[in-house]
Amino acid sequence: MAKHHVSATLNGNAVEYLCETGQTLLEVLRDELQLTGTKEGCGTGDCGACSVTVDGRLVCSCLVLGVEAQGKKIETIEGMAEGASLHPLQRKFLEHAALQCGVCTPGILIAARALLARNPDPTEEEVRFWLAGNLCRCTGYNKIIDAVLDAAREMRGN
């Protein structure tokens, strides 16, 4: 069967790609567009490592088909920093040692940014529940929570 032609906006840029009907957005990002920053941890929507936003909505890209992105705005980890300037969340993750192996980090950063977009002043408990869909096996989450709360503080300007 012929591949589908998809036009979308990826990290602010127009993008076109061909994909099979059954290919997930995650596979398209990684295998077709060579954006390997989005990680596959499970392929079943249970670990959050492949988190991206589609039209601002936080999703597991392993549960979205590549063809579903037609006409949509996709944001991945590769678009989080502005040029050489890191997003406050990225900076705070480094300062707080909020990553060890780093493989869950892109997904957690994308999820945390989505949280702060809707709730700029979350409590610790709100951060913990929002990130409950993002597994981290290295850190015990302590420093991730610290980093998100600190980034939120900075982004609020206090």
């Binding site: 990684r30 295998d31 890191l86 780093g102 989450y141």
Partner: protein, 761 residues
């Protein structure tokens, strides 16, 4: 140590600070490349056919239809791998047998667990590879299987290996069994010890196997040429081990295999072995194309790791005053489908925190129809610690002693005899207990349905073979390379130790992990060995470089080498009229390198002895919901002796992460099988690792009793933290509900049943 290593009492400028790791930015921007992130032109996708049976004889494999499928470039089975000699190699504690390893990578006579690899394909894309697997016809003769360790030890149990005679039993048993090995350690006379005891507590326990649960599934890319040489990009805890195992399993020279260290997305012991690298390499050799294999999460659960499940009985005898006089432990471990559970560690570590005159510790390594167990964070020790520390808690309650005071009065210290031979050479355990006793949380009040538990643990830590290079670049900045895979921030700690030794700023030093052709052999990142052993190699290389820098300065000044010293990052003239020469910085000496002898650098390879063990003690407060049996962790404090923390944040991270893995092991995680031996929860939805909303902040208390055998006092940080965690949670639950559960995980139905049995009773 070399006389020039930094003395403990000197003020440290870099060690103990918290700079950002050199690999940090690529990891927050998505640019860091892990095992699955590599690609090459002309690359094929590999995929692996796995057994649907827990136990079956392979009568035949027909690959003809798969080979005929357009886009399929190769199909391989075990017939394509050379046979290996049956022999156990290396120290008994970590012995390997390539006859087993090649069979685990690709089943030969039988499949021994659901998910066992039976064939592999390389094809032009994932979809064709997947379709080809469906066309492979395997003729299986299903056999009876056994999952549970106690069942596997029964005389009439189905045998995984019809000719396996238990090792370590004299005289050797006449009949084969699933017991691969029996080991025993003895000290003193336990019979006399128990006879002299005022109180004896004996309890039996079971634990479920749990997976390391690294978020990155195994992934690799291999490229091999017709001349037999090739390269592998793989995420592992030791690229030198990937190289050695791949070469051995494919009958190649080790030097013909080059392994590049990909970033590793978690390992916890589970990536110290190979599963897919030799398969990708063979497929690449057969096709002449690069081949990439990435495991699915289901495959990871069904065919890699986990650590052993167990069945254990522990007996402890004490005097009324609290002095332990005898201890006995029997530890039966599931090895999975091939021998090699960590039961030997378990028998050694279980009673290691204590000074006990009479000890017997017996271990059984038992095969069963599950994936072959792999190392998991302090392999074996958390399992025996769960049994021993739960029993210790019951003993303390029986004689009415505070559980921490009870541990303190029996604490091992330097000079205490171990059951397995040597005497403890280091202090550190008592200090962790005292850290909890001194913590205000230990006296904090508890509410209804809440309980508090404490527990302790021991881990050997390790030294061993490591290599490092230190080069002074043309502008005086410093490049450090080691052979140690960086799994938790070791590039940062290596750069910090180099900066401290050279007397320069952290930012002036860059550390990388070198590939297998660019640096000397380095053993795996495991056993909490890297900051210790590889750290020694880095510091010794820095000292060699300092020697050379002083020689170059002497040449520049035309003075004797003995008149130059290295202080605060500069060569200084120490002869008469010491103000005669301005100190020479790294930059100044590097600028004159060409006229003083050429590039400045050193490589050092060590086999580091003198590792000091890690002890940890932990406090856990829980609240148990009497209606559901659900356990909520309210507070958790881990006090661990790390010797010295080079980068305290990364050490805390190790402690917090280890504890949380222990909490998952205690409360949620287990392998669930149906009657046919199929794993029912091979995914993160049903195999539930702790998530952020399950947990409070984990408080890490760094105890630092320096190791005199390391230039900065390092003992190791990665593993001791998980050892006490399950027992700490179990003791807290017992305290909360007034009854002791003796089986992990303490999932809500089990806790509720225990509460209900109390209500009825």
């Amino acid at each position: 140590m070399d006389a020039k290593t930094i003395k403990q009492e000197e003020v440290l400028k870099v060690v103990g600070t918290r700079p950002v790791r050199p690999d940090g930015v690529p990891k927050v921007t998505g640019l860091a490349r892990y095992g699955a992130d590599f690609a090459l032109p002309g690359m094929l996708w590999g995929d692996i056919l796995r057994s649907p049976h827990a136990h079956a004889r392979i009568r035949g494999i027909d690959t003809s239809k798969a080979r005929a499928l357009p886009g399929v470039k190769a199909v391989i089975t075990s017939a394509d791998f050379p046979e290996q000699k049956y022999e156990f190699l290396g120290p008994e504690r970590v012995a390997i047998n390539f006859w087993h390893m090649t069979r685990n990578i690709m089943a030969r006579e039988k499949v021994l667990y659901e998910g066992h690899a039976v064939a592999a394909v390389a094809a032009i894309n994932k979809a064709v590879a997947s379709e080809a697997l469906r066309l492979i016809e395997v003729d299986y003769e299903p056999l009876p299987h056994v999952i549970d360790v106690d069942a596997a030890m029964q005389p009439d149990a189905p045998l995984l290996f019809e000719d396996m005679i238990t090792r370590g039993v004299e005289p050797a048993p006449a009949r084969p069994s699933n017991v691969s090995k029996r080991i025993e350690f003895k000290l003193g006379d336990t019979e006399a010890g128990f006879a002299a005891a005022d109180e004896i507590v004996e309890l039996s326990f079971k634990t479920a196997p749990v997976h390391q649960g690294y978020i990155e599934p195994h992934g690799c890319l291999a490229r091999f040429d017709a001349d037999g040489q090739g390269e592998i990009w793989a995420s592992s805890q030791g690229h030198f081990v990937v190289r050695a195992y791949t070469a051995r399993l494919l009958d190649m020279n080790i030097g013909d295999v080059l392994v590049h260290p990909a970033e590793i997305g978690g390992g916890f012991g589970g990536k110290t072995v190979v599963y897919i690298e030799p398969v990708a390499a063979l497929l690449s050799r057969k096709t002449g194309h690069p081949v990439k294999i990435v495991m699915s999460r289901e495959d990871v659960f069904k065919a890699t790791g986990p650590t052993s499940g167990s069945s254990m009985t522990v007996k402890i005898g004490v005097k009324k005053n609290g002095k332990i006089v005898a201890a006995d432990g029997v530890f039966k471990f599931q090895a999975g489908a091939f021998p090699g559970s960590p039961v030997m560690n378990a028998t050694m570590c279980g009673f290691a925190p204590y000074d006990i005159p009479n000890v017997r510790s017996v271990g059984y390594d038992v095969v069963c129809n599950r994936p072959k167990s792999a190392a998991y964070r302090a392999p074996g020790s958390p399992i025996s610690a769960y049994a021993v520390e739960s029993t210790m808690d019951a003993v303390a309650a029986r004689i009415g002693l505070d559980p921490l005071q009870f541990r303190l009065m029996n604490a091992a210290k330097a000079g205490t005899q171990t059951a397995w031979g040597p005497k403890h050479a280091h202090d550190g355990y008592a200090e962790t207990v005292k850290a909890l006793l001194d913590h205000p949380a230990y006296a904090a009040p508890l509410a209804k349905n809440q309980g508090r538990g404490v527990a302790s643990g021991f881990w050997f830590n390790n030294g061993g073979e490591s290599s490092a290079t230190v080069h002074i670049t043309e502008d005086g900045s410093v490049a450090v390379a080691t052979g140690s895979m960086d799994i938790g921030g070791s590039r940062a700690s290596m750069a910090m130790m180099a900066a401290e030794t050279l007397g320069v700023a952290y930012d002036q030093v860059r550390a990388i992990v070198a590939d297998t052709a660019s640096i000397g052999y380095t053993h795996v990142t495991g056993g909490s060995r890297v900051t210790f052993a590889t750290g020694i190699a880095v510091v010794e290389a820095c000292n060699k470089v300092i020697d050379e820098l002083c020689a170059r300065a002497a040449m520049i000044w035309n003075v004797g080498k003995g008149e130059v010293v290295w202080e605060q990052g500069c060569a200084r003239f120490s002869g008469q009229d010491s103000g005669k020469f301005e100190p020479l910085s790294l930059k100044a000496i590097a600028a004159k390198r060409a006229v003083t002898g050429g590039p400045i650098g050193a490589e050092v390879s060590v086999n580091a002895g003198g590792a000091a063990p890690g002890f940890a003690s932990e406090l856990c407060d829980v609240e148990v919901d009497p209606e559901t049996g659900s356990v909520k962790i309210l507070r958790f404090i881990v006090a661990q002796d790390v010797g010295r923390a080079i980068h305290p944040s990364y050490v805390e991270g190790q402690m917090q992460g280890g504890v949380v893995q222990g909490i998952g092991w205690a409360l949620n995680e287990e392998y669930i099988y149906d009657a046919a031996g199929h794993l029912l929860n091979a995914g993160f939805l049903d195999y539930r690792v702790p998530v952020a909303s399950d947990l409070p902040m984990i408080e890490a208390v760094l105890v630092e009793v320096p190791n005199p055998n390391h230039p900065f006092g390092v003992k190791g940080a990665g593993e001791a933290n998980i050892v006490p965690s399950m027992a700490a949670v179990a003791n807290a639950v017992a305290n909360a509900i007034g009854r002791r559960l003796t089986e992990l995980p303490m999932s809500p139905p089990k806790v509720l049943a225990a509460i209900d049995s109390g209500r009825r009773g």
